[in-house]
Every structure is written in structure tokens, then in C-alpha cells.
């Protein structure tokens, strides 16, 4: 049978590989590389809404580093990510270990655990907003009825409490992702290893620490990596709950970039704020990928 030129070309491995990769490349270029390059250009220009602007070097970065609100947002982002990641990991792991046991209605419980993760963030956050409402908070009502408080708690109006509140919602939303991913990791661990360890006299803690944890570590690192990236660039939750207030106390990189770029129309400054996340995130990602490789090669 004679083969056409296309078939012959596709028989070459490198040509076939190129064509198979092409759709991904196009998508990555269009939706990742182009917006990124455009963001870099904006950050180096003085573009404002409706005015294209021209190259001004690093002036925007000088301006934002001198901006006290930006420094607050940067610090908030780091604290927000660090604190919520620790809680999400601890609670997620605990939940995964519980779900890994055998009990009645296990699959139902697993499905329900995922609910916070499945509901669109804006919707669930609006529900939280009502629960934290300055006047009608259901928490305040409950605590008041239980005689725990005698004046209202200002959940979103006090800077520290507002930060704690948004962190709590983030943890609530993020735990299912950890739990389910770690559960998948737990199920790949061969039960024989646990049995062998038990026969050798290892107690429950020793079995976890010397068998489960080392084998779960690669999965954990990947989950943490994803979560850190997501949390660092979080937007919806803060935007809905506080809009960055009170008096900028809960701004994160993304919300402040949005306020400056989209709200105030200073596109170039907003782009510079978003881009300022990049080096920090890059460091975190490089470190984690290096660590994952190290763990896998052990």
C-alpha cells in the first residue's frame, strides 16, 4: 500500500511529537505566555485605562515599594499563605487518616467532605459574609445566646479579626482538597508494610512516622505546592468578604493589584503589583520542586 506524504511525515517520531504537542503549545502561548509578556510590558510602562502609555523602566516598582499599602499587602499575603497552609495540611492529613479507616457510610462522608471545595467560592463566601455580618452575625447571636459574649464581635471590622476570619474561611475551603489528595496517597501505601512494622512491635505513632509519612511525603509536597500557589494568588475570598478593608488591613497582592489596576484605572501600577508576586512564588516553587525530586530519588 502506498502511503501519502502526511502519513510518511507522521511516521517520523519528532514530527509526530511536534504535532501532538502543538495544541498544548498554542494554548500555553495564548493563555499563559502572551498575558505574562503583556503584564511585564504593562508593568514597565505608564499605561492607564484608555491610554496605552510608553516605556518608563522600573518607575512603577519604585513607586509600589515606597507604598505602605503595598507593603501591608505583601506581608498579609505571606502570613495568609503560611498560616492557612499549616492548618490546611494538619487538618487535611487528620481527615485523610480518618477517612482511610473502614466505617459505615464511608463513601457518603467522603462525598460530603468535598462540598466546600465544590461550591463556587463566591457563593460560599457570600454565605460566610452573612455569618460575619456586623449586625446580623449568626456567630454573635449564638455566642450571645450561650452567654459567652455580651457585646458584638466585630468579625470583619477589626483588622486582626478580619484577617483571622478570612484565614478561617480559606482553611474551611481548602481542607477538602488536602484531605482527598492525601487520602489518594494513603491508599497507595501497601498494607503489608504496616503489618510488618506491627509485627516488629512498632506502635501506632511509630507506624505513622516511619512508614506512612515518608511514603506520603512526595504526594504531600505536590499538594502543598499547588495549594501555596493558589493561596498566594487568592482573590475571590478577600474581595467578597472585606474588599481589602478595613483600611487596607486585609489586602493581598491580588486584591490590591485589582483595586489599583482595575478599580483606579492605573493599569501599569496594578500590573507591577501582580508581578511583584512572581519572584516570591518562583522561589517557593523552585524550592519545592527541588525538594520533591530529592525525596523521590532517596
Amino acid at each position: 500500500m502506498r502511503r501519502g506524504p502526511i502519513s510518511r511525515a507522521l511516521e517520523r517520531e519528532d514530527t509526530l511529537a511536534f504535532w501532538l504537542l502543538a495544541p498544548t503549545l498554542v494554548i500555553l502561548t495564548l493563555f499563559i505566555a502572551y498575558p505574562f509578556a503583556r503584564g511585564v510590558w504593562l508593568a514597565l510602562s505608564n499605561a492607564t485605562v484608555g491610554e496605552p502609555g510608553h516605556y518608563i523602566g522600573f518607575a512603577n516598582f519604585e513607586k509600589i515599594f515606597a507604598d505602605s499599602i503595598f507593603r501591608t499587602a505583601a506581608w498579609n499575603t505571606i502570613v495568609y499563605t503560611a498560616v492557612t497552609t499549616v492548618f490546611k495540611l494538619a487538618l487535611g492529613l487528620w481527615l485523610a487518616l480518618l477517612l482511610n479507616r473502614h466505617f459505615r457510610g464511608k463513601s457518603w462522608v467522603r462525598a460530603f467532605i468535598l462540598l466546600p471545595f465544590i461550591i463556587p467560592t463566591v457563593l460560599s463566601t457570600l454565605a460566610w459574609k452573612w455569618m460575619f455580618d456586623p449586625t446580623f452575625s449568626v456567630f454573635n447571636w449564638l455566642f450571645w445566646k450561650l452567654h459567652i459574649i455580651n457585646s458584638r464581635i466585630n468579625w470583619l471590622g477589626d483588622p486582626d479579626l478580619a484577617m483571622a476570619s478570612i484565614m478561617a474561611v480559606n482553611v474551611w475551603r481548602g481542607v477538602p482538597f488536602y484531605a482527598i489528595s492525601l487520602l489518594a496517597g494513603l491508599q497507595t501505601i501497601n498494607p503489608d508494610l504496616h503489618e510488618a512494622a506491627a509485627i516488629d512491635g512498632a506502635n501506632r505513632w511509630n507506624r505513622f512516622w516511619h512508614v506512612t509519612w515518608p511514603l506520603l511525603l512526595p504526594v504531600t509536597m505536590v499538594v502543598v505546592l499547588f495549594s501555596v500557589i493558589q493561596t498566594f494568588a487568592d482573590f475571590q475570598l478577600v474581595y467578597v468578604l472585606t474588599g481589602g478593608g478595613p483600611a487596607n488591613a486585609t489586602h493581598l497582592f491580588a486584591t490590591y493589584a485589582y483595586q489599583i489596576g482595575i478599580g483606579t484605572g492605573l493599569l501599569s501600577e496594578g500590573a507591577a503589583i501582580s508581578l511583584a508576586m512572581f519572584p516570591a512564588l518562583l522561589l517557593v516553587v523552585v524550592f519545592q520542586l527541588w525538594y520533591i525530586r530529592k525525596v523521590e530519588n532517596r
Partner: protein, 434 residues
């Protein structure tokens, strides 16, 4: 009717297509102009209903154009206009607040012809309307309305603490608020990041003490003795008299708090009172009487340097990217025709004050004395950026909530000196920038 054969169809459609190709124009029915208008969700919902059900169908009939109305939360208008301008596509007519037209001036179609004719025919625009919509070269937007901001208060509660008349000065208001808060009926005010109630309080409060963002020549003068005094006073005032949840309020929270009987007074448009009129039996006082009969309105109290007001101003920008500018302008002309505008204005029941002087004489103002303070809101209000001319810089200070945050920081515990220094520094950065 004769049979419509395949041959006839081909002949007709072929000729039609040839015609379109020859003239480079689709037939007129395919070209019906359309106008996409975006505005805020009105705090008087009946007015949006009137527009949708009655006025827009009338406009479509009169203008032969399709008109689509989209309403969004007021806080979402700025993000929407930014993305529309950047992508070069979106609504044809945008509602904008206060001095925001100056931010988007480069992307506005000149509406001088429309606005001038309306202003002239309706007794002349108020200064606040002119300042917010004209940049010296063109008219950026067509003035629509002023949402008068007055303090809505519970008359009987103020009487109980010894104020049969509403407090005239900040000191008196502080005193009344302290007594009210002690009875579990604090004053309510947002110092949050929200477009209306926050700046319409913080700016005139600052001005009444003699503090200003810039002087007449545009020099930043915020860091002054007067500003400092205003911040010092606010620290104690807030703690003694206000519901401290206000730091997290948006424009809707104080309405709910007032209507539920949690607060005794709040700076607001007339929407609280109008809501109690709409549902008189739903909103009741603790004595079981109608709340609407216990609500009165007052301007903000007087400070050492006078009494000031800043009222949310609204105008409509025809976007430069719009392919329907002509139809959009025709629509604005149509809706501002006194006979049409009057219907909308009356449906607002005084919540909106028109931007031109002619409307002060309208009979609607005589119907309800409780609404009378709103009649001249447009006449007395100033623009943010006072005492300088409104421009892009003052609009940036406004959208970054710097003046509001100065007070919010102080009531959260920052020293007044530091709060003023911080705000003055931020304002200086904006005014000295390119």
C-alpha cells in the same frame, strides 16, 4: 398566496445578496441601532422597574432603537468600565459616580452638544455637575442626578436623650451619640471601602474642620492643624458614639441596621425612609408604631469652619469605542426631555435630586416635608478634591479611599499624627506623580 418554489427563493435571495454586496450595506432592518446602558442597581427598586417596564419600551418606540438596560452593584461599575475600555467593547452608555469621568476622559465621546442643550433648557447645571463632567476641552458625560446624603435619624430616640432638635454641631452630635450608645442605640457610619456612604461622610467632615486635600492652586495641604484636630475628635467620637461594626460596612449595611432598629442615626440617601414608606407595616418601632413616622432627615452637623456636604453625583458617559454613539446620544436626549425625566424623577420620591436648577420648583418637593432637606442637595454639594479643581488626581485619591482610611486608621488605634502623615504622604504621591 402563490406557492413559494425553490426557484423563486433562489432568485429572491440571490438578488438580495447581490444588492447587499453592491451597496456594502445590509438592509435597514438588520441595522437597527442598539444601545447597551449600564447603571447601578437603584436603591429605589421601583425606578428600575419603571425604566424596564415602561420607559425603555417607550424610548425604543420613539427612537427606533433597541435599548438594553443592565444594572450592577455600584461598586462594580469601575471594574466594568475599565475592562470595557481596555477591550474596546462593552456597554455604549456607562453610569459613573462623582469625579470618575475625569479618570476615563480619554475614552469618552464628547457629549457637549447633548449636555449643553439640557443644562440650558433646565435652568442651568449646578456647579458640582459641571465640575465633575467637564475637563475644559470637552464634556465627558451627561449629568444625571445627585443622590442627596443626609442623616436619617430616629426623632423619638434623640428626644429621649435631650435633643428635640437634631444636633447642630459635631460636639452636640458626639454628646447625643454618647448618650444613645449608652442605651444600646449607637450612631451608624461606614468607614469601609465603599463608594457612597464612606466618602460622603469623611470628605465633608474633613472640610467642616478646615482640612483640605489641596488648596485652590492644587498644592497638597492635607497635613494641617485642622486635619489633625478632625482626626483627634473622630477617635473619641467613634468610640463613644458609633457602632464599631461600621468599619466593615458597605453601602447597604447601614440601611439594614437602621431598619432593624440597631442604630439611631446614619448618613444615607433617602432610601431608608423610602423603604419604610413602601412597606409601612413591616418596619415598626419598639413601641409597635410605624417607623416611617419616627424618621427625620438632617444635613451633617457644623464644624469649626462651617457646614459642608458631598453628595453622590451620577452622570452618563457615551463611550468612545461605541459604534452606536449617535443612537446613545439620541437616547440621552430623549430620557432627559422634561416629560420623560420627570416620570423617573417622581418615581425616586426625592432620593435623587436632578442636576439642574429648574427641578427645585417641582411640586413633588412639597408633598412630604421629611424629604425637603434633599431638595437643594445638588446646589450645596462640593466635589472631592475641594478646594482644588476636580481632576484625575482627586479621582484617584477618592477611589483609593485615602481620606476615609485616614479616619479608619485612627479609630483602629493609629495615633492621629501618624494617620494624618500617612494620608498626606499618599495624597502627595498622587499629586506629584505624572
Amino acid at each position: 398566496m402563490g406557492k413559494f418554489t425553490r426557484r423563486k427563493f433562489l432568485q429572491a435571495s440571490g438578488a438580495g445578496l447581490a444588492g447587499i454586496l453592491a451597496t456594502h450595506q445590509a438592509p435597514s432592518f438588520a441595522q437597527q441601532a442598539s444601545v447597551h446602558w449600564i447603571k447601578w442597581n437603584d436603591f429605589v427598586p421601583a425606578s428600575d422597574e419603571l425604566l424596564r417596564k415602561q420607559m425603555l419600551p417607550e424610548a425604543m418606540k420613539a427612537l427606533g432603537a433597541k435599548i438594553t438596560l443592565e444594572t450592577v452593584n455600584g461598586n462594580d461599575l469601575q471594574p466594568r468600565v475599565t475592562s470595557a475600555i481596555q477591550s474596546g467593547t462593552g456597554p455604549d452608555v456607562f453610569m459613573l459616580f462623582n469625579n470618575h469621568p475625569h479618570i476615563y476622559g480619554a475614552s469618552a465621546a464628547d457629549v457637549s452638544d447633548v449636555a449643553e442643550a439640557i443644562g440650558k433648557a433646565q435652568g442651568g447645571y449646578y456647579n458640582v455637575a459641571k465640575a465633575n463632567t467637564q475637563d475644559g476641552r470637552k464634556t465627558l458625560s451627561v449629568p444625571w442626578a445627585v443622590i442627596g446624603a443626609e442623616i436619617a435619624y430616629r426623632k423619638s430616640w434623640f428626644e429621649e436623650v435631650g435633643y428635640p432638635e437634631f444636633p447642630k454641631t459635631w460636639q452636640e452630635y458626639h454628646d447625643a451619640g454618647k448618650k444613645l450608645k449608652a442605651k444600646g442605640r449607637p450612631l451608624g457610619q461606614t468607614l469601609g471601602h465603599t463608594f457612597g456612604d464612606a466618602p460622603t461622610f469623611s470628605y465633608p467632615y474633613l472640610w467642616s474642620w478646615g482640612g483640605k486635600e489641596v488648596d485652590e492652586k492644587g498644592k497638597v495641604v492635607l497635613d494641617s492643624k485642622e486635619t489633625l484636630e478632625s482626626v483627634k475628635f473622630m477617635q473619641a467620637f467613634w468610640k463613644d458614639s458609633f457602632d464599631e461594626g461600621g468599619l466593615a460596612w458597605d453601602d447597604t449595611n447601614n440601611n439594614r441596621a437602621f431598619l432593624s432598629g440597631t442604630i439611631s442615626a446614619t448618613l444615607n440617601g433617602a432610601s431608608i425612609y423610602i423603604e419604610t414608606q413602601r412597606k409601612p407595616d413591616q418596619y415598626q418601632t419598639e413601641k409597635g408604631t410605624r417607623m416611617r413616622d419616627d424618621i427625620r432627615h438632617s444635613p451633617l452637623p457644623r464644624g469649626p469652619k462651617g457646614q459642608f456636604g458631598f453628595h453622590l453625583f451620577q452622570s452618563h458617559m457615551v463611550m468612545g469605542y461605541s459604534k452606536n454613539q449617535k443612537a446613545a446620544k439620541e437616547f440621552l436626549k430623549w430620557i432627559h426631555t422634561p416629560a420623560n425625566y420627570e416620570k423617573w424623577f417622581v418615581s425616586q420620591k426625592g432620593y435623587s435630586t436632578p442636576p439642574a436648577a429648574m427641578w427645585e420648583k417641582h411640586k413633588m418637593w412639597d408633598e412630604d416635608p421629611v424629604m425637603a432637606p434633599f431638595k437643594i442637595a445638588g446646589k450645596l454639594g462640593l466635589s472631592p478634591g475641594y478646594a482644588g479643581p476636580p481632576n484625575r488626581k482627586s479621582a484617584e485619591v477618592l477611589t483609593k479611599y485615602i481620606i476615609t482610611d485616614m479616619y479608619a486608621k485612627a479609630v483602629q488605634g493609629m495615633s492621629p499624627q501618624e494617620a494624618v502623615k500617612w494620608a498626606a504622604g499618599e495624597v502627595q504621591k498622587i499629586y506629584s506623580g505624572a
